[in-house]
Point group: C2
C-alpha cells in the first residue's frame, strides 16, 4: 500500500478521540473506497490537546491491523505525535492527503485552537501534506455520522483532485441535522467561552474546578462565518494557514516604538 | 492587589516551565516594579503543550505565596488552564496584561504552534486581555535571563501604555547573546522540523521513539522574519492574531467547487 507505483492515493488518517471512536470508523469506511489508508491514531481520547507534542516520554506504535489497502497503528501519543511519527517513521512515502476526524463535537470558531483534530491537520500542513479536519456537532458516543461522511467524501475527493498551496489546511464542521443542507466556504467566526468552571469540594474539603462553560458567538450578525452557516444547517469549510502574524499590526508596533 | 482603585496595573503571569523555573523568577522580579503581580502557573513543566486544556481531570489552585503586590498560585494544569482559571475564578478583576514566560528555549517561527508559553498568551487574547509571551533561546536550567528581562521590560511598559486591538497577542523571542543588540518587529518565518525521531529498543525488544529533531528555516534569504533578526542578535517581536482563516483561499475554494 505504500508502493510508489500504486495509482491509488495514500491517505493518512488520525483523530483525537482514539482508535475506537465511531467517527474514525465511519470516516475510514468511506476513505477505503477513495484510496489506500494508513491510520495512525491515539490509543485513547486526546480531546482538547490542541497542537501538543509528547516530550517527556517515548512513543510506541503498534500495528494492530494490516490488510490490503488498510493499516492501523495504535500510538500512545497526541494527534500531532501520531502525524509526526507516521510521516517520519511509519510511512515509506509522503501521503497525498491527511484526514483527521471525524471528531465527536464542534471545532468551529475559536474551538479550533483547543482542538486535537485541527492540531493534527495543522501538523500535516507543517509537513507539506494537504490536510483536513472534520468535526460533527454531536458529542455523543453513538452519533450518526451518515451526513458528515457525505460532506467529508466531497471535500476529500475535491482535495485529491486539486493542488492547494503548501501550508494550507482546512477545518470542516458539520451540523447535526439530517439531511445537511449543503456545504459553504466560510471564515472563522470570532467567539468566546463563558462561565468556564464548575466549583466543587473534595472529601478533604479542598476546592477543585472542572472546566466546562459554553460558547458565545461574538459576530451573530455576520453572514460569512462558520457559525452562521452551521446554524443554517450547512457544513462550514474554513481554509486555514500556518502564519499567525498579524500583518496589520507590524507597522503600528514600529511606529509606537516597540523596537529597541 | 486586586483592589479596583489601585493605580498600579494588575499583571497576570504564567509560564510552561512550572513555578520553579528561573525564567519565571527573573520575569517576576522585574514585573514587581511595574505593577501588582498574580502568578498562576503550572506545578511542573508543561513544555510542548500548545493550547491544550485539561478536560478529563479537575484543577486545584493552591495559593503558595501571598505578599503585598505579589500572589503565587500553583495549578495542576496546562498554561492555558492556568490563564482560564485565573481570569474566571482567581482574580476579582480582569488583568491589564498577561505575561507568559520567560520560556527556556525558542518559540520562534512555527515553534509557536507547539508552545505552551505562546498558548497561554493566545488564551489571554481570547479573553480580551492584552498578552505577550517571552522566550529566551537557551534551554538550560541556569540560563542567564539578564538581557531577556531588559527586552521584556521595554515591551511590557510599551503594552501597558498602549491600547492594542482586542484579540492581539505578541510573541517575543530573545537571542542568547550578551548584550542583545536591540529588538525588531518581525513576521513569523516559515520553517520546518527535520529528523524528528530517535529510535531505540526497550529491554523487552520493543521499538520506541523519542521526539527530537532540529529546526530548518525555509526562508533563509528573507530579511523581515523573526529568524532573521534572532540570527543577527536582535530580539524578534511578532504581533499575532486569533483568526486562522486563510482569506486568500476563500474565493479559490468556492471557484473550485468545494461547496455543496
Amino acid at each position: 500500500m505504500t508502493n510508489k507505483d500504486s495509482e491509488r492515493p495514500l491517505i493518512l488518517v488520525t483523530n483525537d478521540d482514539g482508535i475506537k471512536a465511531g467517527g474514525l470508523e465511519s470516516l475510514v469506511n468511506m476513505l477505503k473506497e477513495v484510496g489506500d489508508v494508513v491510520i495512525a491514531a491515539p490509543n485513547e481520547s486526546y480531546s482538547g490537546m490542541s497542537h501538543a507534542i509528547t516530550v517527556k516520554s517515548p512513543l510506541y506504535a503498534k500495528l494492530v491491523k494490516d490488510k490490503p489497502g488498510l493499516k492501523l497503528y495504535k500510538i500512545n501519543g497526541t494527534p500531532v505525535d501520531c502525524v509526526k511519527l507516521a510521516i517520519n517513521v511509519l510511512l515509506d512515502r509522503k501521503p497525498d492527503l491527511l484526514v483527521s476526524g471525524i471528531n465527536h463535537g464542534t471545532n468551529s470558531s475559536i474551538s479550533l485552537h483547543y482542538s486535537g483534530t485541527v492540531g493534527a491537520a495543522r501538523e500535516g500542513a507543517l509537513n507539506q501534506v494537504p490536510a483536513v479536519g472534520f468535526s460533527l456537532l454531536n458529542y455523543s458516543h453513538d452519533a450518526d455520522f451518515t451526513e458528515a461522511v457525505k460532506v467529508a467524501k466531497h471535500v476529500v475527493v475535491s482535495m485529491l483532485a486539486d493542488k492547494l498551496p503548501k501550508g494550507t489546511f482546512i477545518n470542516v464542521n458539520i451540523p447535526d441535522v439530517h439531511p445537511v443542507k449543503g456545504a459553504r466556504v466560510a471564515r472563522q467566526s470570532k467567539g468566546k467561552w463563558v462561565e468556564e468552571f464548575t466549583e466543587r469540594q473534595d472529601p478533604r474539603g479542598r476546592t477543585y474546578y472542572w472546566l466546562t462553560g459554553h460558547f458565545e458567538n461574538l459576530e451573530p450578525e455576520a453572514k460569512d462565518t462558520d457559525e452562521y452557516f452551521l446554524n443554517k444547517g450547512y457544513a462550514a469549510i474554513v481554509p486555514c494557514h500556518l502564519d499567525a502574524t498579524n500583518f496589520n499590526l507590524l507597522s503600528y508596533l514600529k511606529e509606537e516604538n516597540y523596537e529597541l
